[in-house]
Amino acid sequence: MKKLFTLLLLVIGLGLNAQVYFEDSVLPGAFINDSSPDTGFVFDNLFFPNSFTDCGEDCEFWSGWAISATTDVTTPGFMNQYSSIVGEGADGSHAYAVSYAFSESYVTLDREQTSGMVTLPSIHFTNSTYAYLSMRDGDGVAKKFGGETGNDPDFFLLTINTYLENVLQETIPFYLADYRFEDNSQDYILDEWMEVEFSNPEVDSVTFRLTSSDSGMFGMNTPAYFCADVFGNPLVLSVTNSNLSGLSLVNTLASSELIINSELDKNMDYQIFGISGQALQNGKINQGEQYLSIHNLPVGKYWIRVQHDGLQWTKGFVKQ
């Protein structure tokens, strides 16, 4: 794990990408916790706090955020605390962030930076495997949602507060599980990535608090975990929702030119977006192999989107 973190620092240090994404920081099947000596992880202009104590074999205490690419969606319990119930990140990639938020967790956005993300329009969320299976089946401490009869009005609520200069901008209740419906067939435990959009993306911090109907003297029985991904880029979800076929991206790692192959006999518009969702470049795409110059873009992660007749095709790429 520490080796992986060293790898992350190396990637950052080499300056391959000033805007490091989760999927670039952790190998498939692995996770990163323990940011020491730093107090958290920095991705682009976002800061993810982390507190970690290693207490021996299979023993650790942590809070805040870990970065994960583990894929186990079947093993219940604490030993599988880093997996999302989807088994992958929100954009179909392998990495995402996991938060242990027994009290509260947060992220901050450094808006003073002159490059990179300066707004936060949305975040994607889902359940961790640990919390999901605990709510579905119960465990030694927690109840299965619905209780013994299936009728208990249980819920697992993520309350999101956005702030700008310490002023509350918005409070969004987001139910990771909701069993409060009269009709039990409507009860659900979230098992896919869902985007939560902020009405005002001009924020500099976001706090996350978990509450559960299954609580006792010692607080919440439901494991206090949630997973988050795609901080600030509304396009990523559309990667998985691409419905315009006949287009392919030849080089996902590009230095000066992006190569697109179009089998469509159409003249279509394209846009290139940065991480914060800003459109940075646009133009036209024709049939055949196209060479799009990207030498004006700084190194980093980008998405290209092509739209035609209400259909769209989106792909991510990295400018080296």
Partner: protein, 631 residues
Amino acid sequence: MHRALSKGCLLFVLLFLTGWATKLLAQEDTLSLPIITIAEKPIFSGEQIDQVDKDVLHQQPATHVGELLAQSAGVFVKSFGGGSSATTSIRGGSAEHTRVLWNGLPLENPMLGQLDFSLLPAIFIDEVAVHYGGNTAAWGNGAIGGTVQLDNKTNWKKQNLIGQYTATNGAFGLEQQGLKIGYGNEKFQFINRVFYQKADNDFNYFISENLPRRQQTNAATKQWGSLQELHYRITPRQTLNAYFWYQTMDRQLPPHAAQTRSVAYQLDETKRLAADWQYAGDDWLVKAQAAWYEEDLRYVDSLIRLDDLSQFNTLLGQITGTKNIGKIHRLTIGVQETFYRAKTDLYENSITQNRLAIWSNWKTDWRRLSFDFSLRQEWQDGKHFPLVPSLGMVFRPWKWTTLRGRVSRNYRAPNLNALYYFPTGNPDLLPESGWSRELGLDIHFIKSENWTGRYSLTGFRRDIKNWIRWILPEGSFTYAPTNIAAVKSEGLEHRLELSGEAKNTIIKVSLGYNQLRSIHKKSINRPQIAAGSQLIYTPKQQFFSIIKINYQSAIFTFQHRFVGEVSTLNNNTLSEYHISDLTLGYSLKTKQWQHQLSLRVNNLWDKDYRVLERRGMPGRHLSFNINTEIR
């Protein structure tokens, strides 16, 4: 200071004993048939005591001591039936406030500071008594709520073969067989008790009116054990006893009612070796005891990839000397050294701990008045615990009335988990401590040749400070033990006993009713505890009764208990419940043998009830027992 003091104490004890030993050597030749006037077991004035009925103990060899206490004493036992763990609460104390002594030796698990009573098979024990109230000075660390005494008895009059075979079959796959076999004469007794027990515990339990009952799964238990006893009367004054207790239990851990499934199981292995030597003079007695325990607890849950082993060893030595001074006084002095070693993944390293305790007791019986005063000082790894006194008095103004009272200061040392759990264990934790007061009245309202009747009422109050709680400190995300709580407990205990004998009939009726208020004196943020709130799993009311009728060879035993509403860990309440059990038996005696057949109906009225949250209990179920023994 600790070393110097402990050496001084040992020297004192040695001198104390050596002086007597010299006197003994001088006397021995002149004593042909000594009259032993000193009781082996200390009796302290003013304690309220419930003795588990011997017939009840005898009729249920397949059960454990926790179940017996729940049925026939004013002890609240936290257990969900079958082979589940069983812990006690006496007078509103926690499980750690129950001192458990086996032939005078403490049995608690030092890592948890408590004992799982489900690991005490009834067949291993001859007598069970509950001494209510705090008396740390006399019984030792943790005797705050009460003390449970488990004793093996030796019958020196028993000649030749000792034999008993018992077999029980019951609902939910219960099968138990026990054998007690031995040889004895006036000099030597060798007894071996061995038992094997298995049960599926696949009972079903109530969920709600419109849903089918849920069957318990993954609840099977399998255990066997052996207790070897060697008793040797070296001389009429001198005895040597040795015990070896081996027991293993493999129990599946069933899912709770709001859990889909469980594959977890727990393996317990217990080895206990104990020996004592005792010499009784005309007016004095000395007893030396030594014990070694090794216990392993392995918890495995493959579903969550957990396999945890915790182990501990206890090495214990204890010497007590008692002397009558004149006709009315008696002095007892004791010293105990205990060494613990514990190992678990939850500790950073293997842990060792030393405890040294010295105590003394002065007892005076003068006409209608008896009183005793005890004092105990204990050190743990060089740190001293509070000096605890205990004063008890008994006054008998009339033959039919006894007034009794006791005032004591008591403590409980933090368990090893609280001290060394990594990383939040706190080696600087203080012992829980406080004062207990109780006052009682016994009235023997019938005292005739064939009938006796006794009513007793005891009122008590206890204040404990530095009560250890695992709390979430401000700004932390990990629970840590702290001396944060203070608890006040007060209550009344009523007991009524009637027993009599008419033509071919023996009747015994025992009733007990406890009223208890055990509240937190201050609020705690997390866990959320409000000042003035009753402790969880602490019923405000408890009632138990036994009606026993032996008519010629027929046996009828009816037990009923009531447990009041309790609050739970998840801020819910569990309803009060009434439970009855009925035993019908037939006893056949020959010159050499005594046979007994009995049928027991548990939960006679088929009540749905819960002792623990999310844990269903079985409805009406039967067990059948055969018991044969040499008379």
